[in-house]
């Protein structure tokens, strides 16, 4: 187990190095010029050159890369935003709890809905409940979360002069007020993410329910509730957990739009604004941090398999 973890951590290093090079190169290969962008085409040539020098963009690309990555490795310094002139880590650290909370609530909503409907659908296969559940899953898969979010915000405002958007309050400041604000985006996002979970849950559970040890449990006269929840569900959850792990980048990526629509001061919005402004250091550093988080999370998910199925061994 220890060796497995060390090996996975070792493998993460080249992965993150590759991510850092890729994102650094992609930002510079993007069409356009950040300096021109900063002055929206209104500056005169001497201003552009001076700004380029001021930002250090007049130096060779490899020097810029080494300075950026060197700052992270030696001083934990992720650099400063070209636009806000603020240290990137400070802003990321201030915003990350918002995105994390949204992601966790979204996962909670999607798991509760997806797993529940998936179980009912599998246990009552080909019944009316199954058909309803499958239709709902297809619907959840088909409706884009950003479209649903706009509808939830705009339609009540037109019809009832009410909108579920409030001013963000931190959880530490007022948990009740915070949850009131976070629940609507989490519900919207979570409902649309519940579709794939429901489908995977259903098929995985159907698969497990056909296993011999389940048949044995039936033969022994165990109650259905105990068979499904105690014996079948745990094994059927492994692909669901994998799916949640695979969807993690989506939760972060989706937060860009959800945070913009619901006025949440999270990392997604910070990243999106940096991307549209070609704020190289922010995009590079946030990408690297998020990549590290995804790598770490996937490792945690891989390790959780042993808890769900003790037969799994790590080598």
């Amino acid at each position: 187990m220890r060796q497995y973890v060390l090996r996975r951590v070792g493998l993460a290093i080249p992965t993150l190095f590759f991510v850092s090079v890729l994102v650094f190169a992609m930002m510079r290969l993007m069409p356009g010029d950040v300096v021109v962008r900063m002055v929206e085409g209104q500056a005169y040539a001497p201003t552009l050159e001076a700004m380029r020098k001021d930002l250090g963009l007049d130096r060779p690309a490899h020097v810029q890369y080494l300075e950026w990555i060197g700052g992270i490795l030696t001083r934990g310094d992720f650099g400063t935003s070209y636009w806000t002139r603020q240290p990137i880590w400070d802003e990321f650290a201030a915003r990350f709890p918002v995105t994390l909370e949204l992601a966790l609530l979204t996962i909670l909503v999607s798991v509760v809905i997806g797993v529940t409907v998936g179980i009912v659908s599998a246990v009552r296969q080909n019944s009316a409940a199954d058909y309803v559940g499958r239709v709902l899953a297809i619907l959840a898969l088909s409706v884009p979360y950003f479209g649903l979010a706009v509808v939830v915000v705009v339609v009540p405002a037109i019809l009832f002069r009410w909108t579920p958007v409030w001013t963000y309050v931190a959880f530490t400041e007022s948990p009740a007020e915070n949850l009131k604000i976070m629940m609507v985006p989490a519900l919207v996002f979570g409902v649309t993410r519940a579709g794939p979970i429901m489908r995977i849950m259903r098929s995985a559970l159907l698969d497990v329910l056909r296993q011999e040890y389940i048949r044995t449990a039936w033969s022994k006269g165990l109650p259905e509730r105990g068979i499904v929840l105690r014996h079948a569900l745990k094994n059927a959850l492994i692909p669901v957990i994998s799916l949640i792990g695979l969807q993690m980048p989506l939760y972060i990526g989706g937060s860009v739009i959800m945070e913009a629509i619901f006025r949440l001061p999270g990392v997604g919005l910070f990243f999106f604004e940096a991307l549209t402004r070609m704020d190289y250091p922010v995009v590079q550093s946030v990408n690297l941090i998020v990549a590290a988080l995804v790598v770490g999370l996937n490792l945690a998910i891989d390790l959780s398999y042993a808890f769900l199925d003790p037969r799994i061994r790590y080598r």
Binding site: P31, V36, G41, Q42, R85, V153
Partner: protein, 534 residues
């Protein structure tokens, strides 16, 4: 007797049914105005060129001079110059302006400045910092020296006579007066505690990504102003959410300037008939720009054909419910004081500028050696707000009617803004232009070689003489005459082809009073005169 009674009864009835004579409402002190808008990328007015930064800065900072707002302004593009921190100014010769500072103007009462009086040294420090650090520093390229003979006097010497200079000083985008102590303590003016100016509002708190709160400056140098106790700006990046907050009455303004598109405005009038919606032709211009230094657009007949192919009246009807301004260039519709209406031009020239005659356009193309037309790309950024996508398609369709096959070439914003927007494109491009506050930018900036906004690559020696002359002429009347000559000269050159300018629907809640649109980038001064009737 009966007749007298009937008469008396009629008079009494009329008195009851007719509305009481309206009294001009007196502005009322108090209340907090709520706005939903985007977040400024930076609080330091010299380290950002974003109009959001400069709008926020205008709340807290003062300048030497400013534009008129509220009851002071004659119209939305009134860019006459009023005193602000400077009480008066005088040209001692065509290149030297002496400003006398108003006595008793104090910075906000926040440490480390603690409400001390503004001196000429602050002005010199601020202007020199702008010239050293701002992305707009070239705006003050003409400045040769800034001297401070005494605490109340600032003498600015220019390299040559430069008429736009006062306008640049009045723009909140350029010359906020800052306190040196704040920079010494905080490193720059990006820290919320470093935002210490002489403006009408004091920055009270700033929660990044959430909300910014200003409160009334009790020591503001204009007595009795501002009327509001404070302003809260709810940071709302998404336009749909902003409009929803406005519809739901959670904010008084769904945009800091009250902007709503024509479609949004019409929809608001239906869903929220109680809100105040005022269609206003704001500063702006949409145009076709062409490589006039290369074939086929180096032939004036081809450019004239392009202009004559645009049915501006039909565009206005189709895109803007007939509410657009058709005579939109080269001086934009909103800039009334500088505008020479097409009706005052020679009819043949006016026709090229604003007319529609596809048959004539085809003849001009044939005369220029293109009887069967030609093909051209049209570079553009598709992300501009509606109805821009329709504009691109209409332009392609209109030019197609006379035989010019337009291939629309959408570009990613980063590429567009750093190439096409700066004139680096082949043949043709379509898009809007930055709304400037100074006539020099609309004319000199777009027609003189090497200027970044000369996207059509105009190089016209005769025109250049006029363009240089207007910026060196300090007498407004004489300058206007030159600007009129420039408009007469440009009318049939078709260096740019101008589209109708649609209105913005300036919208606010009914209880918001005194909020007048102004085409400058200031927010503080327009809110200085705003008050709440509730």
């Amino acid at each position: 007797m009966i007749r007298r009674f009937v008469l008396a009864a009629t008079v009494a009835l009329l008195a009851l049914t007719l509305p009481a004579p309206t009294e001009a409402q007196q502005p009322r002190r108090g209340g907090v105005l709520r706005i939903a808008d985007r977040e400024a990328p930076n609080l330091d007015p010299h380290l950002s060129i974003s109009f959001l930064t400069h709008s926020w800065a205008s709340m807290a900072y003062g300048q030497l001079v400013r534009f008129p707002h509220g009851p002071e302004q004659r119209h939305t593009a009134d860019f006459s110059i009023l005193p602000d921190v400077a009480e008066k100014w005088e040209y001692t010769n065509p290149t030297t302006i002496v400003f006398t500072l108003r006595k008793g103007v104090r910075f906000h009462n926040k440490p480390p400045v603690n409400g001390r009086e503004v001196t000429s040294a602050d002005v010199k420090y601020s202007l020199e910092r702008f010239m050293a650090k701002s992305g707009f520093k070239s705006r003050l390229d003409q400045v040769q020296a800034i001297e401070t003979p005494d605490k109340q006097t600032v003498r600015i010497t220019l390299k040559e006579p430069f008429a736009p200079f006062l306008n640049h000083l009045a723009s909140p985008a350029f010359t906020a007066i800052l306190a040196r102590e704040a920079e010494e303590k905080f490193g720059n003016f990006n820290h919320p505690d470093a935002v210490i100016g002489t403006g009408p509002f004091v920055l009270k708190s700033y929660q990044k990504g959430v909300r910014v709160v200003w409160e009334r400056n009790p020591d503001y140098h204009v007595k009795g102003l501002p009327y509001l106790d404070g302003v809260e700006l709810e940071i709302t990046p998404d336009s749909n959410t902003r409009l929803s907050l406005f519809r739901a009455g959670k904010v008084d303004l769904g945009h800091m300037w009250g902007y709503a598109s024509v479609e949004e405005g019409k929809s608001l009038q239906k869903s929220n008939p109680e809100v105040v919606v005022t269609p206003t032709v704001t500063m702006g211009q949409g145009l076709i720009y062409m490589r006039t230094d290369q074939p086929p657009f180096n032939d004036v007949r081809v450019r004239q054909a392009v202009s004559l192919a645009i049915d501006r009246k039909a565009w206005s009807d189709g895109l803007y419910y007939g509410e657009a301004c058709i005579d939109s260039g080269p001086v934009p519709c909103a800039m009334k004081e500088w505008k020479l209406d097409a009706a005052k031009l020679e009819p043949a020239k006016a026709k090229v500028l604003v007319g529609y005659d596809p048959a004539e356009a085809k003849k001009l193309l044939a005369a220029a050696g293109h009887p069967n037309g030609f093909a051209t790309p049209a570079f553009h950024w598709p992300g501009y707000a509606p109805p821009w996508r329709s504009v691109y398609e209409l332009a392609a369709d209109s030019l197609g009617q006379i035989g010019i096959q337009v291939e629309l070439k959408p570009e990613e914003y980063g590429k567009y803004i750093s190439t096409t927007y700066l004139g680096k494109f082949e043949k043709m491009a379509i898009g809007p232009i930055t709304p400037f506050t100074e006539i020099d930018d609309w004319l000199y900036g777009t027609h003189v070689p090497e200027q970044p906004n000369n996207r059509s690559h105009v190089a016209d020696a005769e025109l250049n003489k006029l363009l240089v002359a207007q910026r060196r002429e300090l007498d407004p009347k004489k300058r206007k005459e030159i600007v009129d000559d420039i408009q007469r000269y440009l009318a049939d050159k078709a260096y740019y082809v101008y589209f109708p300018t649609g209105p913005q629907y300036i919208s606010h809640q009914k209880h918001v009073k005194g909020f007048k649109h102004h085409d400058g980038y200031g927010l503080g001064h327009r809110l200085m005169f705003t008050w709440l009737d509730k």
